[in-house]
Each structure stands twice: as C-alpha cells, then as structure tokens.
C-alpha cells in the first residue's frame, strides 16, 4: 500500500510555499480554522525610483504594462532627516492619524505594508477606504508593499508570540530590508522612518538600528508643526504612557462574549442610542423586544455612548423606572464652569448640578405616585458600533489665558446639541477662538468625563456666510466639493451650444415623438433655473382632453455606470440652502441642457393621458419626445394670466383646463383620504442685502397654480409607478409612506382631548384627515395648522424602496392615500427620478441611447437596495440642511433688523407647542421657527428680578410662572395657547449657541 503523503521535500518549489493558518471566530460564535497558501517571491519591487535593480526585475500584468515606480528620487527632508526619508507607518498610527496623512503638504513617499493594510481593514473599513484613496492619488506617492509575500520580509509567527508582536516585528523587518536594500543600490539612500506610537516597538527598533518615531515626535520635526500637532490624536497619546489612573468615572463595558450570550438569552438588548433634543441627560434606546423605547437617564447610565451609537443595554430594576423628564436641560447651562484642565480633580462623573437635576426627576416620579407613567429605564453595558464622525463646533471660552505656543486643553462644543463637549488639546488657542472648527472624537476612556478628540481644521470666522454654510454642509454630510474632472468629461462636448438635432434622422431622435407643435408651458417658483417639468392640455374631438406632463430627459445625458452617474448616485439629491444650491448634476445639464427652458427645443420624457372633463383618466401612455416650451411662468404670473379675463389665447385656455382638472383631481384625492399636512415653511429672499431683511422672511404663499402643478405631478408619479411595477415586479424603484402606528399619536390625541375636547381618530388616513378637519378653533385660525404640524411630526417618514423588498400591500403611500407611488418628475434634482426614467424607458421598449447597459443594473436588486438606502439618507439630510439654513438666516435677518433700528421690538404671535416643568416651546409661524422659553424669559407684572419658580401640571399641560413667594401674580400658560411674544436674536453666552444666533423669544403677555 502506498502512502498518501506528498513528498514535500522532493518538490523544488517547496521552500517558496508557506501557509498561513489562523483561527477565526465569527460573530455568531462559530469558530473556523482557516488555512491559506502563501507563495513567497523575490520579484516584489521596492518601488523606489532610485533603485534600478528592482526596475529590471519588475513583472508586467496580463496586458504587458509594468506598474510605475512610486517613491520619489529626492524625498522631502525634515529637521531630523535632512537627506530625505521614506515613511513606514504602523497600523495604530494610521488609525489615529489618517487626517494627517491626508494633509497635502506633508506625508509624501509612504510605504504601506501589507501587514498594516490588512490590520487596518480589520479595524476600520472607512479608514481603509481613505487610505486606498491615498494610494491611488499620484501626488501623495503612497506605495503598497506586499511584505508578507517577499521572501526576505515574510515573517512567521513564533511560538507564544502575540499577533501584535508579530505584526510589529514584520514592520521592523520590512524597514530593515528597505534600509539595507536601498543602501545597496544607491550611495546616499533616504532614511527609512518607522512611525509607531508603541514605546516597546520603538525600543526594539532602536536596538535593531531602525529609526522609529512616534507620530508626535515626527510631526514636531515638520514645518507648520503647531497646526499639525493639534491634529495628532489624543488617543495615541493615551496609549503611550498613561495607564488608567485612579479615579474611574464610568463602569466598565461587559465583555463581548457576555454581551453576545446576553443578547441571545434576551437579558440584554441592542439598539441605537438617541439623545433627547431638549434634555442632554436623557436618551432613549429603541429595541426590537419592546414597543416603547427604553429610557437612559444620566451620564453614568449612558456610559460614554454618544447619540447615534449602536449600544447594548441592560434593563434596570423596577424601582428605578422613571417618568420621562419634563425639564429642559442644556449642557451649557448646567456645566458652564467645567475646567478642561482640571479633569483629574473632579470628584465624580456627575456634577452637583446634574445630580440636582436628576433628583428632581426621581422626586416627581415618586410624589406623583405615577407608577402608571413610569417607563422602564436601562443602562448601557456595551457598545456594538461607534457612530463617531467629524463634528463641527466652536471652542468654549477658555478659562485662564493661553500664552504663546503652550499646549492647552480646551472644550470643543459641537453644534449638535446631543453630543457632549469634546476635550481637545491645542497650541493655537488664540487662533481658534471665535472660529468654526472641525474635530473628531478619538476615544472616551473610563477615567475621563468627556470624550477626547483632536482638531482637524478650521472653517473660518463664526457667523461668516462661508464658514456657516460649510459647517452646515459638513454637519449634514452633504458633498459640496466641485465636480471632479472625470465627471465633467461625461458632459456633451458641445457645452452650452448643444441643441436638439434639426435632422430627425439623427440617432438622438430615434424613438422620440415630435411634440414641438403642442403648446407646452412650465410653471415654477420665481427664479427657478432647473425646470424639471412642463405641462399641456388640449381638447380632443370626442370631448375629452389630452393632458401631458413633460419631464426633462436627464437619462439621455447621464448614462448608467459612468463617473457622472456614480457621482449623482452618491449625492442623491440637490440640496437647497437659502443662498446656495448644491447640485446633484453639473450646472451645464441642470440649468441648461436638461432644463425645459421656454422657447428652446429640449428632449423630454412625456406622460400623456386622455381624461374626461370630470378628470377621470381614460388612458395613459408614455413616450420620449422633443418639446418646445412656449412660456416659463412663475406661480404668480400663471395665476394672473388665468385670472385675466381678457386673455383668451390658446395657451391660457389650456392652463384654465389644467386648473379645473387639477381641482377635480385634488378633490378625488382628498375623498380618498389624502392628508393635508403642514410643515412650517418660510421663504427667504436673501440676495437683497440692502432691503429691510426682516421683510424678506415670508411664509410661503399657496396659490391655486401651486396645486395645479402638484396634482399633475402626483398623477404622473402614480401612473409611472404602476407601469414600472408591472414590468419590474422585483426591482421597481418606488416610494412608500408607512402608516404610522397609533401609539405615535397617543400624546397628541391625549393633549387634544384634555385641552380642547377633540377626538383624534387615527384608524386610517381618511379618518385622520377628517378628524384633523374637525380641530378648528374659531378664535385662532392658526390652531388647525398648528395641529397639522404636530400631527406631521408623529408620522413616519416616506422612503424609497425596491418593490421586491416589501409585499404589495405595503407599497401604500399613507399621506397621499395612493396604493403605489414613485418619484418621476424631478430627475434634475433627484437621483431616484433618474433611475425611474431608466426603468420606464426600458418598460416602454425605448431603444435609444443609454439603454443598452441599463438592463442589468436595473434588475440587480441588491444594488438597487443599496442605492435606495443611500437616497433615503441623503434625502433626509438635505431636508435637515435646508431647514438649518433657513433657521440661520432668520437669525441673521433679525440681527440685521436689530442693528438697523435698535429698540424696535418685533412682537408677533406665538403658539405653545410643548410645556415643560421649567419652560415651554413656542412656535412662531411668521418666521417658521420654534424656540424654548425659559422661566427667566417670561415677562411678569411687577418684575423684581427675584428667582423664578413654577408650578407645573403635567396632566393639565399648564405651567404657572411666578417670582419666589408671589404665587398670586404668576402667569399661567397652557398648551396650544396663543401668546404675544417678542422675538430677538442675541448671542448667547454658551458656545453651542454661538454663531447660530439662536432666536430668543420672550413671552410678553397672555
């Protein structure tokens, strides 16, 4: 019998094969033993342009192309290494200092080892992606050296050696090889510098004769060191010397195995941690096991988690359950006097003031005997995923003077209220005060009260338009950089001179209907440049009407899978700020070639219906077309034209037809149970610097022509949604609005019932619409709108999805009361519409350009789901950014007004939206803002500036404010009450409010 053993010794190649064996445990607890072959070789180049030996042995790819050598002949020098140097960073340096490596002036000629790259990818995928982007950029000169495959630098893990030690050793070995290799090929080789924050590793390197520096030591040797030093992560420092010292503020996290078993057994729960916008000490975690979110109260319970983190929580015993707080708590007001330097002296994680605030809660929960309302509380015992991102904020006033170059610790206060202050160390305090600053969180250890982070860059002076706009865009993750060249290369070469070909045999005309003779017009907001849609209506011989909605044919210009498509897909939507528009597509397309401007021929995608005079749709068809818009109206112009009895031309007649049809359509929709929702909307005309700024804040006027356009767009969207769903049952891109669970409305309906005796029926959208119509207060016409605004906030948000991921009954759009819905009508500013265009083009069998490769990507469900996810995210952020921009400008407008005419108070109507124990939230419709009113901001009779106190009736939603000892002269406010308020914009002392110009609201009288 022969042996089955392979004769390894006999194989001449055996020396070159090693195998990598490791054990890996999956999240599910499964353990796998992985065996991989590794072929060791000698032809992996050092990639230095100095080295001719490697150049001669470099291997070409399948197409015969040899990769270019990367590391420069004359690398930059520093004070310590005047002859130039190549850098070899280890993983921890990259983890903590990626921002530094992205600096354009420094960190060139870097060798990224395979060992390091692999470890980095294991630790952080986003950082890995950023590093890969660096390695691809030509001017940074980053070289990927696969040291594990070069026989000279491959390292085997020794017995008993930890994986970290092995990796450190392989970094040192690679550095040693580079040093000796370069010394052999050139006379004056550049110095190889290993960057590592690990002291032990540096010591060993020194012993082996390798230059090793910590990131901080290295940066100190660069010019511009002060600014760069601030960017060195604090976490990296922490690793060096300081072991956790004495005082531990926070409890330790559970071990991963304990968490996993806990979650499996159902004793621990996982969810996203959300901090209340009104009270920074109160957070909620929504876990799948319970209907209502769990409360997390206080710093100790939230245990170093930051809003947005995915956390694991443990339910606290029932005697610790509490009622959600009715207090307004701002970190600024409670902890104004923390000193960032004196961290170590602090007694406990909870300051006295915070303790007092929490005490109130407990007292209330007990005294009210409100066991019925007490909610389960929990504490955080572990963190599954950190959601740390770059944060924009300002430096808190520095206590003590910072002199010269000395490093000082300061607090950075993020704009986002829900995120705690961050301790950062800087040498440039004076420059940073009064600026908008981008920073990131590095770590939050048990022994620091606040997270530790580092400075990244400064955006500019507070309250300057540029800095504030950029801050806003960063905060909402809007991509605002100019379009890269690859994208611009995808534009038509004719530029603005592009025209619809005159020759109808041109390939561009293929499959298009010529609708140039139809009287089409567009109706948009004034000054609109990116005109997505145009309309027409004309009578048919049988008494019916033909109605057409023509949408800009963007898919004709944006072909699938090219760089422009990829960019548009990642941007997702155009973002409208008050003074700026961040386009999804380059200007040339958005405002010219695609835009359905009047008097020029444009490609369009048309939806044509035959409708009866009663607005019943007889039939619908879709076609790509060429149109020539006769007029571009604004809403007001269109309204005037329609109302003008002397205008009897054909275009006006068709607009009148459209208007009457749209009103009938709207009625039908309302009868079906569509909701008439409200959100506080104001419009700001910002360009006019000279005019009285306040007059420029306008509430959006609703004209009949607004709803004219809206109705037909809705009709087009619904018709298209039906069509694409029939052709792509699994992969149609649709939009749904889930019916909100009745529990969302519980608070509002209770409030309405107690305060006004109205019943809110939320059983269906029709019932809700009807009961909202009932909520009328004859003395306060705005009351109904207020309720609608509040009801809107109780609903879920609409989302894009791919038809295969939900069952057909769940396609429903709750707000519009439509069985199916999608977005088709704004392809210039929404990527979803563009995709829907492609799907529709395929569905109608359009054969023209751009459709050849579309097929595959339109049917790829996984890809489409990812796109939807991104679109939903971008869409939400764009809305938030737009709102924040308006808020900022309202503040600025008020400020300008105050500067111009000091003393002229702005007194307006306000409505109470929420009542807290120590303040109320007031909504001011005229400016579309809502603001907190604290006890101090109530104007009382006989004000003696004594300490304010209040009586809060949680069940009656009333708050009585009075000065200490003078209950009789108190002022009582209740929910939904109309108040006279004085609005002013003032700079608050807290750093958070700074620059944002929070509007201050003072209650004048009741």
């Amino acid at each position: 019998m022969k042996s089955l053993k392979r004769g390894l010794a006999a194989d001449p190649n055996a020396v070159n094969i090693s195998s990598k064996v490791f054990i890996r445990s999956a999240k599910s607890g499964r353990v796998q033993k992985v065996v991989r072959e590794q072929y060791l070789r000698k032809d992996i180049p050092c990639s230095s342009l100095l080295c001719s030996a490697c150049a001669s042995t470099a291997v070409a790819d399948a197409n015969g192309v040899v990769p270019k050598f990367v590391l420069s002949k004359r690398p930059a020098g520093t004070k310590a290494f005047p002859d130039g140097h190549y850098l070899i960073p280890d993983t921890n340096v990259l983890l903590s200092g990626m921002d530094l490596f992205e600096e354009s002036g420094h960190f060139h000629d870097v060798v990224i080892l395979q060992t390091v790259l692999e470890e980095l990818k294991n630790r952080s995928l986003p950082l890995y992606n950023r590093l890969m982007a660096l390695t691809r950029s030509e001017d940074k000169r980053f070289y990927l050296f696969f040291n594990e495959f070069r026989s000279d630098t491959a390292v085997r893990r020794a017995d008993g050696e930890s994986i970290n030690d092995r990796n450190d050793r392989s970094v040192r070995k690679a550095a040693a090889w580079y040093t000796s290799h370069l010394a052999r090929v050139t006379k004056k080789p550049p110095v190889i510098v290993v960057l590592t924050n690990d002291q032990e590793n540096r010591r060993k390197s020194k012993k082996e004769g390798i230059n090793a520096l910590s990131l901080r030591q290295y940066v100190e040797g660069l010019d511009d060191a002060d600014r760069l030093l601030d960017m060195v992560s604090q976490g990296a420092e922490g690793q060096e010397g300081r072991a956790l010292q004495g005082e531990l503020f926070y409890p330790e996290y559970y071990s991963m195995t304990r968490i996993m078993t806990g979650i499996k057994a159902g004793t621990l729960h996982q969810g996203v941690f959300n901090v209340s916008p009104y009270n920074y000490l109160e957070g909620t975690v929504k876990v799948p096991a319970f209907d209502k979110p769990l409360l997390v109260l206080g710093r100790e319970a939230s245990n170093r988690s930051i809003s947005g983190d995915v956390v694991v929580v443990e339910i606290l015993p029932k005697d610790q359950w509490k009622v959600p707080s009715t207090q307004i708590l701002d970190e600024d007001t409670v902890n104004q006097n923390d000193n960032p330097d004196n961290e170590e002296q602090e007694e406990s994680v909870i300051t006295e003031n915070e303790k007092r605030a929490l005490q109130e809660d407990v007292r209330r929960a007990h005294s009210a005997g409100a066991d019925t309302r007490a909610q389960p509380t929990c504490r955080v015992v572990g963190i599954m995923k950190r959601n740390w991102r770059q944060l924009v904020g300002t430096i808190d006033n520095v206590s003590g003077s910072a002199t010269g170059n000395r490093q000082t610790t300061v607090f950075l206060v993020p704009m986002d209220k829900r995120i705690p202050k961050i301790r950062i160390r800087t040498r440039q305090v004076e420059e940073l005060i009064g600026k908008r600053i981008v920073a990131t969180i590095d770590s939050w250890d048990r022994d620091t009260r606040y997270p530790v982070g580092h400075y990244i860059r400064s955006l500019g002076e507070l309250e300057t338009k540029e800095a504030e706009t950029e801050a806003l865009l960063l905060e909402y993750d809007v991509q605002y950089r100019p379009f890269p060249k690859a994208v611009l290369d995808c534009l038509p070469s004719e530029g603005h001179n592009w025209k619809v070909p005159t020759d109808t045999s041109d390939p561009g005309w293929q499959g298009r209907r010529d609708l140039r003779n139809i009287l089409v017009c567009s109706i948009d907001p004034p000054g609109c440049q990116d005109i997505d849609d145009a309309l027409h209506a004309r009578p048919l011989p049988n008494g019916n009407f033909e109605v057409g909605v023509h949408i800009a044919d963007v898919s004709n210009f944006v072909k699938p899978n090219n760089p422009m498509d990829a960019e548009a897909s990642s941007r997702g939507t155009t973002v409208y700020l008050v003074d700026k528009r961040i386009d999804m597509l380059p200007m040339l397309l958005g405002t010219d070639l695609c835009s359905l401007k009047p008097h020029v021929e444009r490609y369009a995608f048309s939806t044509l219906w035959e409708v009866t005079p009663d607005a019943e749709v007889v039939s619908a068809s879709f076609t790509k077309s060429v149109i020539r818009s006769r007029e571009g109206f604004s809403y007001e112009q269109a309204q005037k034209r329609i109302d003008d009895p002397t205008a009897t031309d054909e275009l006006t007649q068709s607009m009148r037809t459209l208007l009457s049809l749209s009103q009938k359509l709207r009625q039908k929709r309302m009868d079906a149970g569509a909701l008439n929702l409200s959100s506080p909307e104001v419009r700001i005309e910002a360009d006019n610097e000279s005019s009285d700024s306040l007059a420029d804040v306008k509430t959006k006027a609703q004209l009949a022509t607004n709803s004219l356009v809206e109705e037909f767009m809705l009709l087009a969207n619904i018709t298209v949604a039906r069509k694409i769903e029939s052709v792509f049952p699994q992969t149609a891109l649709l939009r749904r609005h889930a019916s909100p669970p009745a529990s969302n409305f519980a608070d509002l309906s209770d409030q309405l019932k107690r305060m006004r005796g109205f019943e809110l029926d939320v059983s269906s959208s029709k019932a809700l619409a009807d009961s909202l119509d009932q909520c009328v207060d004859p003395t306060h016409p705005f009351f109904n709108t207020l309720i609608r605004i509040m009801a809107t906030r109780c609903m879920t948000s609409a989302e894009y999805f791919c038809s295969g991921s939900h069952a057909a009954p769940e396609f429903r759009h709750y707000g519009l009361a439509s069985e199916i819905y999608t977005h088709f009508t704004s392809p210039i500013r929404r990527y979803a519409d563009l995709l829907v265009h492609r799907q529709l083009a395929y569905a109608i069998g359009y054969e023209g350009g751009g459709n050849e490769i579309a097929d595959e990507s339109l049917r790829n469900k996984g890809k489409l789901e990812r796109v939807c996810q991104n679109l939903n995210f971008r869409h939400r952020n764009a809305q938030l950014a737009g709102r924040a921009s308006i808020e900022y400008y309202v503040g600025q407008a008020l400020k300008a007004r105050a500067e111009k005419t000091p003393g002229a108070a702005i007194d307006v109507e306000g409505y109470v939206m929420r009542v807290f124990e120590n303040g109320i939230v007031v909504f001011v419709p005229q400016f579309g803002i809502e603001g907190l009113v604290r006890l101090e901001d109530f104007q009382l009779k006989n004000d003696e500036a004594a300490k304010r106190e209040s009586i809060f009736d949680a069940d009656g939603y009333t708050l009585t404010v009075f000065e200490k000892g003078r209950e009789q002269q108190g002022v009582t406010v209740e929910l939904f009450q109309q108040l006279k308020v004085r609005v002013s914009s003032e700079e608050k002392s807290g750093a958070r409010e700074k620059g944002k110009r929070r509007v201050r609201i003072v209650v004048l009288s009741v």
């Binding site: 089955l4 790819d61 197409n63």
Partner: protein, 260 residues
C-alpha cells in the same frame, strides 16, 4: 475583513496568496496509489486534494443502459465532509454535485476511445479530500491521470484549469485582467470559468472539451473579459498537461525499472 483582490491588484499585481496572474498553484500528482483499483491517482492543486479510482472497463451492471457500440462512463463524486472550513453534512442528491458528475462523464465519454469497449462500463470515482477552489478542474485532472493509469486508450491527456478576471467595476472601459487557477477565496470574489482542453494532432491547436462558467461576466464588447479568460485558460491547460505528462513519464520510468 481580510484584504480582497480587486482593490489592491491594480497597484501590486499580486493576488491574495502572493501569486502573479499567470502562475499556477503547486500541482503534485501520483498515480497507481490504490493497487486494488484498475487505475488510480492522487492529485493536489494547492490545498485542493482529490483521490480518484477507476474501475473498468468491465461488463455494465445495469442492463438497460448498456450501449451496444460504446463503453459508458459513469462518475461519482464525493466531497468529504471535512474538505472545507466548515464541516458539512453530505446532502444526498446534491444538484451541484450531480451536474459536476455528468460534466466529467460526458467529457470523458467523448474523449476516450470508448468504441473499443462496447457493452461495458468505465466507473470513475472521485473523492475530494480537501477543497480550496477548482473543484471541477481538480476532478477532471485526477480522473484523466487515473484513466491513463487504468490503461484506457485516449488520443491525448485531457487537462483542465480555471481562470478568472480581476476588474475594478462593472464598467466595460477597463482592460480585462485575467488570472489563472483561482483558489477558494478568489472564486468567492471574482467571476471565473473552468476550461479543459485536449491536445490536437502535432502542429494543430488544442481543442476545448469542457467549458463551464457560473458567474456573471461581460461576454461581448471591446474589452471582452470572457475572451481573455479563455485565452489565459487555454495556456494554463498546456502548463497543467506538461506537469501531468511528467508525472506519467516518471511513473512509467519507475515501472520499467521495476521490470528489469
């Protein structure tokens, strides 16, 4: 997450196990490993190991399926439950395995001189002891060697290899980057095909006898990935055939020495 080929290949031109695009894994083989069978072989390609035994030609046991003019080739593939990282229980009537079996059978049915053995059966039995990609390829190669060992006449040695393509994205503008002999990790990540050729008459080109592809891949167009994969694969088959011929010659020399 471990590194992947696509993101780093363009810069390093190295695959995840340190090979270049046109390098095979180490192939070792021996024949006549199982004296009890008519022909046998043990073949390894990297960490994939396949044991093959051939029985026959012998009188077919199933009357109904007997072919009056040719021998029938039957194949049975058995992937050991310990062959991969996760211990897998064998599923009976695994459709994938059945398809592989019929692929191997039909490849040899048309390749061997079956007309010399009418009304008889040649059974190929393949045992996959360890699997790291290239399942079909290793089975074809092992069977090829075992059939030689069994002394069944054939015009040339059938040799197989897999080839794949590294391309950054779906877009068709980049030039294709073919790679040869994928291991399991690469098979998970990249589109690949399995190809087998038989050498033609001296002077004429090799002929493709097996070609299967189960992944999505651009076929037409200017930078066709399929074409480059096939061209690379045909070259790879030549390399494999040379190695197999070496094994056979060495074995033959040993046998002759034993006779003396």
């Amino acid at each position: 997450m471990p590194l992947d080929t696509i993101s780093t290949y363009a810069q390093t031109l190295l695959r995840q196990d340190g090979r270049r695009w046109n390098e095979l894994r180490r192939i070792t083989a021996s024949i006549s490993t199982q004296p009890s069978s008519d022909g046998s072989s043990l073949l390894t390609m990297g960490n994939t190991m396949v044991l093959c035994t051939v029985t026959g030609p012998r009188e077919g046991n199933r009357r109904g399926q007997r072919d009056n003019t040719n021998a029938t080739v039957e194949t049975e593939i058995n992937v050991a439950s310990f062959a991969q990282m996760d211990r897998r229980r064998r599923v009976r009537n695994d459709k994938r395995i059945q398809e592989l079996q019929s692929t191997v059978s039909s490849a040899f049915q048309s390749h061997l001189f079956t007309h010399l053995y009418p009304r008889s059966t040649i059974s190929i039995s393949l045992h996959v002891l360890s699997l790291d990609g290239a399942l079909l390829v290793a089975c074809l190669n092992a069977a090829s060697l075992a059939l030689v060992d069994a002394g069944i006449p054939m015009p040339s040695i059938l040799a197989a290899i897999s080839s794949g393509s590294v391309t950054p994205t779906d877009d068709s503008s980049t030039r294709p980057e073919p790679i040869l002999d994928l291991n399991n990790v690469e098979e998970q990540e990249l589109p690949f095909l399995s190809i087998a050729t038989v050498s033609g008459h001296p002077g004429s080109e090799d002929k493709v006898s097996v070609l299967t592809m189960e992944s999505r891949c651009q076929i037409g167009g200017a930078n066709s990935k399929l074409e480059s994969m096939m061209a690379t694969g045909v070259d790879g088959c030549k390399q494999v055939r040379r190695k197999m011929e070496d094994v056979i010659r060495k074995h033959g020399a040993k046998v002759l020495q034993g006779r003396k």
